[in-house]
Amino acid sequence: MTAIDSPVLTADGKPLKASLRRALRREKARAFLLVSPLLLFVLLTFIAPIADMLFRSVENGIVHDTIPRTVQALRNWDPGESEVPGDDVFEAFYTDMVFAVERKSHTRLGSRLNYERTGLASLFRKSGRRVGKFDTKDYADAFNALDPAWEDPATWDMLAASEGASLPRSASAFATWLETVEADGNDPFDEEPWDVLYAALYSDLMQAPAGRFENPLLNDAQSAAARFEPVSLRDQFGAIDEDWLDSQVWRTIQTYAARYTPGYFLNSVDLKLTADGVQYRDEGDRIYILLFGRTLYMSLVITISCILLGYPVAFLLANLPLRTANILMILVLLPFWTSLLVRTSSWKVLLQQQGVINDILVALRIVDDASRLVLINNQTGTIIAMTHILLPFMILPLYSVMKTIPPAYVRAAKSLGATDWTAFWRVYFPNSVPGIGAGSVLVFILAIGYYITPELVGGTRGVFISNRIAYHISSSLNWGLAAALGTILLFAVLLLYWTYDKIVGIDNVKLGG
């Protein structure tokens, strides 16, 4: 009995179970080590970039990073109460803009906000040129005339350290100023303070209780500043462009101040996030639903034409003697091995109005010379060229499935009295359905993300959503929107795959054997 209770031991006296487990674990570790380079490679070059791309579609840090003070100040602005934000917002915005212009980040912010409200890109650029020349220079002159110490950054440094709490705007503006000047490779203490610092100082002094500073320099400045001619920053901005006095502009900035935004996704489905909630875009700007719809529709048409054209070819291949079949197979594979660009360009030569097809039709008097067919730079062109390009992806799975259907089935059906058609339709065809499924999934998924062929032969009405993504990546530089469109496309494909699995069952898909 004791022999059963006590564990079985191996030759070296360890329990067999533990020994086995260790051996298995070692085995697993070795297997993992073997695949780990590939795993790491896939992770770094595939998963990580996709994750990064998905992240860009919601990331919106640019507003907060470029104009942090304005974002802060706008939190307290209620558009219901006042049409235009108060002076505190304009002061904050002035400070932010001066530094943004110096860092050259204001044009990018303008471009970003322009996606939500056209006109903001030009507004930011225009203002960037003028913001350094505001009348706040008067403050600088007045303070410097009062005491030359204000011209010395050391004074500011000392005050920011000792009285920073009662001078919040000046202290924060001075800190950013130090960083900005140093980033340019200059020593801040050799520079003259900029106008923007004096404007912040003026506003701090005006809002602090009178004569409570510890440093007499500040108390003097405060009593003198009360007599300065105030410079209205609101008027200064209004003079650049009256759009700065438009409440919609500020509401747009307020709405998009958050670090993460659903804005790009809404944009991808022709909606936009406004201060009053989600709304449809203007009639003229609604194009994405149209493009998604067109992409799906054209991919479907391409898939169906591939089935119609590919099925007879695959059938022929599978039922001919091997020698002939092999030659035909090469004909199918030859275009498959030819460069995609070459094939697309040849379609251009064939399809254009002065091209081969039209010339033949005209020569045969089927078509009149004056009314040549328009076969390219429209949807027809895209469908023809892509059907040809994707055809091998339909034929090959079909062929490999048909090869495995025993000819005896059809013979048996016929011997039981079926006509040729019945034998094919009731016996052969159901057996070939897994091939159609595999081919369709392949062709459809490839088609939905196609880019180069529609770009070359699609004109304006035969392009896919992927062409739009490419446009946003390389021309408009709206990477957030491109990412959102790409994400939607990715999930649309996954959804289709899932639906297909539910309806047909992915186990029924056969790519061969």
Binding site: R103, K104, S105, T107, R108, G110, S111, N114, Y115, T118, G119, A121, S122, R125, K126, G284, D285, I287, L290, L291, Q352, Q353, Q354, G355, N377, G459, T460, V463, R468, Y471, I473, S474, S475, S476, L477
Partner: protein
């Protein structure tokens, strides 16, 4: 004591600066970005080949990415790995790159060679320095070419022929972007040349331009590569189309196609180099050394031997001679030739820099519908 310190400091300075100055830390590789095609070839023959002949240790690599230069530079900059040393871009892209801090601001007089008579570079290039980052190379123009055999006995002399589908039936090709097209549309809608940008600034003006373009929308093949229109013209696919004047020169003179040049309302534009921000010291030194050579008076004049674009330096103009292979006089083919420049349209860089984002979005939406 003070003297001793100064002497020591000077010696130290000489020691640290000396060796670097002598070995001149120049990188041996240079990656140049350009547009491909005939234009890149003209650059290669006019400046890269002679430069390499003088500096045999240098390997020059071309990257034909100018079309996407802004996007790619931004991506490289974000990744912190700028692999380009010198990028050929059109002026509007240079302005944008400069605005975003992706291109280096330069001192033109310091970096570029003076003219042979000693005129500093900034004066020699003059107004063509449209941005602090931009090193102009050529003046080109976007203009129209037409099929001489498809226009009957009345070849077009006016840019508005593009909008006249009754007299000139058939397809036309236009660039797939708002720049130039919007201006031409307004001019042909009766807006005086001087007022075009004022009108285009308003919503009504933009609607007016789109309405004019709408009248030919179904007859337009939109191009995005400079080689498209010459191909479409050669195939007889379009009766008239816009492209860069150098491409048309090549179709007409080098390939001998039945194509005519319509210089009316040609839009001058500039193309030139920018140096990306973020280069290591040795690469920057090589880029600067190359660009000084490549934009001197003789080199810019040499480029005009291979392509019909006007050199950006005033001092190069008198040196422009014959085409290197065809042996024809190049001056009459330059966009700046008085005979060709009777009616030109001045492209407003600043305006487009401001409004590009706005109009691009509207134009693309208009196209898709």
């Amino acid at each position: 004591m003070k003297l001793k310190k100064t002497v020591l400091a000077a010696a130290a300075l000489a020691l640290t600066v000396g060796p670097t100055a002598v070995s001149a830390e120049l990188a041996d590789d240079i990656t140049l970005v350009s547009w491909g095609g005939a234009y890149q070839k003209s650059q290669h023959r006019a400046y890269v080949e002679p430069y390499i002949a003088d500096n045999p240790e240098v390997t020059a690599v071309w990257d034909e990415s100018s079309y996407e230069a802004v996007a790619k530079l931004r991506a490289m900059n974000e990744a912190g790995n700028v692999t380009w040393d010198l990028v050929d871009v059109v002026a509007s892209d240079a302005i944008r790159l400069c605005d975003e801090g992706l291109a280096m601001e330069i001192n033109h007089d310091e970096l570029l060679a003076p003219a042979p008579d000693g005129t500093p570079a900034s004066e020699d290039f003059g107004d063509l320095i449209v941005s602090d980052c931009f090193i102009p190379q050529i003046v080109y123009s976007t203009t129209f070419g037409y099929r001489t055999d498809m226009v009957g006995s009345t070849p077009p002399t006016d840019v508005c022929a593009v909008f006249d589908t009754a007299t000139y039936p058939g397809k036309r090709s236009l660039e797939k972007r708002p720049i130039n097209n919007m201006e031409w549309a307004l001019i042909c809608d009766g807006v005086p040349k001087a007022d075009v940008y004022d009108v285009l600034e308003t919503d009504e003006g933009q609607a007016r331009a789109f309405a004019k373009l709408d009248t030919i929308k179904d007859d337009v093949i939109w191009w995005s590569a400079g080689a498209d229109t010459p191909q479409l013209l050669a195939d007889g696919e379009v009766v008239i189309g816009s492209t860069y004047n150098g491409r048309l020169f090549s179709v007409i003179e080098e390939q001998d196609q039945p194509v005519g040049m319509l210089w009316d309302a040609q839009v001058f534009d500039l193309d030139g180099w920018i140096i990306p921000v973020g280069l290591s010291e040795d690469r920057l030194a090589r880029a600067k050394d190359f660009v000084r050579f490549a934009t001197d008076t003789q080199r810019l004049a040499d480029q005009a031997k291979y392509i019909s674009y006007g050199p950006a330096r005033m001092s190069s103009a008198p040196l422009v001679g014959m085409h290197a292979d065809l042996g024809i006089e190049m001056a009459p083919h330059m966009p700046t030739d008085p005979e060709n420049a009777k009616n030109t349209f001045l492209y407003n860089y600043e305006w487009w820099a401001d409004y590009r984002d706005d109009l691009d979005a509207k134009f693309q939406a208009w196209l898709a519908q």
